[in-house]
């Protein structure tokens, strides 16, 4: 099965990718991970890059994620904001779970924000909705639906004028 090629192909499954909990703040545009491939203090960061980066990239498609290997003695993560601010996170000797939790706390969106966003997205994203602020103004814009009677008259069998018609 070609899909199973490579180390830990589970990282490419949709279920795994969607299980990610880190959704970066809107202002964060670039995330850079500096780490070393050898050394006990880099082990957690290496695992983090291996396991968590796919999830983060999947959940944040508009963020550029860069990794820099074997350039610095101790590992760290840098997040760049669109305002020019910068968050430098030291991850020396930390395990991948600790790093992940800290990132969620520091650069991730808070639970309240996420909930509010999911509610508004649900309202907007449901393709069945129509009206102001939705994908379509009226259901008649969909092919196969009955056009608005203001534009094209309804078929006669739906109009009171013809249903209740009394002859002379």
């Amino acid at each position: 099965m070609p899909f199973m090629i490579g180390p830990a192909p589970i990282r490419r499954t949709l279920q795994f990718l969607e299980a990610g909990r880190l959704i970066l703040k809107d202002q964060i545009k670039i995330m850079a991970v500096h780490y070393h491939l050898v050394g006990e203090n880099n082990k957690g960061t290496k695992d983090f890059v291996f396991w968590c980066l796919p999830q983060i990239q999947y959940k944040n498609p508009n963020v550029q994620i860069a990794t820099f290997k074997n350039l610095t003695p101790s590992p760290f993560i840098r997040c760049f904001y669109e305002t020019g601010d910068e968050m430098l996170i030291d991850v020396d000797g930390k395990s991948k779970e600790e790093i992940y939790e800290h990132l969620i706390r520091v650069v991730g969106k808070t639970k309240d924000v996420l909930e509010a966003e999911s509610i508004s997205r649900e309202k907007k994203d449901n393709p069945a909705n129509f009206g102001v602020g939705c994908d379509r103004q009226c259901i008649c814009e969909l092919p196969g639906q009955i056009p608005c009677p203001g534009v094209v008259p309804l078929p006669n069998h739906m109009r009171g004028k013809f249903i209740h018609k009394k002859d002379n």
């Binding site: 202002q27 030291d90 930390k94 520091v106």
Partner: protein, 211 residues
């Protein structure tokens, strides 16, 4: 007719003090009733609107539409929650800065803690490295000494051998000695693995098999 009936029905269901009220509903006949017999063949004349009046009507209508559009847009902008949230950049910026400061505080704390741990680790590592280097140096010295001792041993043995060397003065004697004592290095092995020395020797008796 219909109006009267409906009015009567409504009247029956209405409370006493509503007698004087006249409900206004179905002020005209429903559209599915046929054309009245007296009006079947009537052709209503087209309204004759003079050009001047037409222009005036168009102007008024245009003005009305423009005014209504602008009012609608104004109200949308004024009361739309979504647009307001977007437009309120000052507040958004302030909220972002507050949030950033909060997160930075958390992160600084984390970084400070890690820095402490790292400094300790590096100091420990340095100490271990120094110890390792010293051990290695000692081992190297020890090995050098051993090598020197081995060399000394070899030299000592060679010196002992020097006495047995054949010198030009002893050459004749040595040759004579060699001729008088010929050595035969040849040997044969029989099927049982016995070694029979010498080229000319014949096995006298069956020797025991060497295990």
């Amino acid at each position: 007719m219909l109006r009267i009936i409906s009015n009567l029905r409504l009247l029956n269901s209405f409370p006493e003090n509503m007698h004087n009220c006249q409900p206004v509903r179905w002020r005209r006949k429903p559209m599915w009733l046929p054309t009245a017999k007296s009006k079947v063949f009537r052709v209503p004349p087209r309204p004759q609107i003079s050009e001047e009046e037409d222009n005036e009507l168009k102007r008024l209508n245009n003005n009305y539409r423009t005014a209504m559009n602008s009012i609608r847009r104004y109200l949308t902008n004024r009361y739309s929650v979504k647009l307001q949230a977007k437009a309120d950049t000052e507040q958004l910026k302030k909220a972002f800065e507050e949030d950033l400061a909060r997160c930075k505080a958390i992160n600084d704390e984390w970084n400070a803690e890690l820095e402490k741990v790292r400094n300790e680790r590096i100091a420990k590592q340095l100490e271990e490295d120094i110890k390792f280097a010293e051990n290695r140096k000692l081992e190297l010295l020890k090995r050098e000494e051993e090598m020197l001792a081995q060399a000394e041993e070899i030299v000592r043995k060679e010196k002992e051998l020097v006495g047995t060397f054949i010198t030009p003065e002893m050459l004749d004697e040595a040759i004579e000695n060699a001729i008088n004592n010929p050595v035969d290095y040849n040997f044969a092995i029989d099927l049982e693995g016995n070694k029979i020395l010498g080229r000319e020797t014949t096995p006298v008796e069956k020797a025991q098999v060497k295990q």
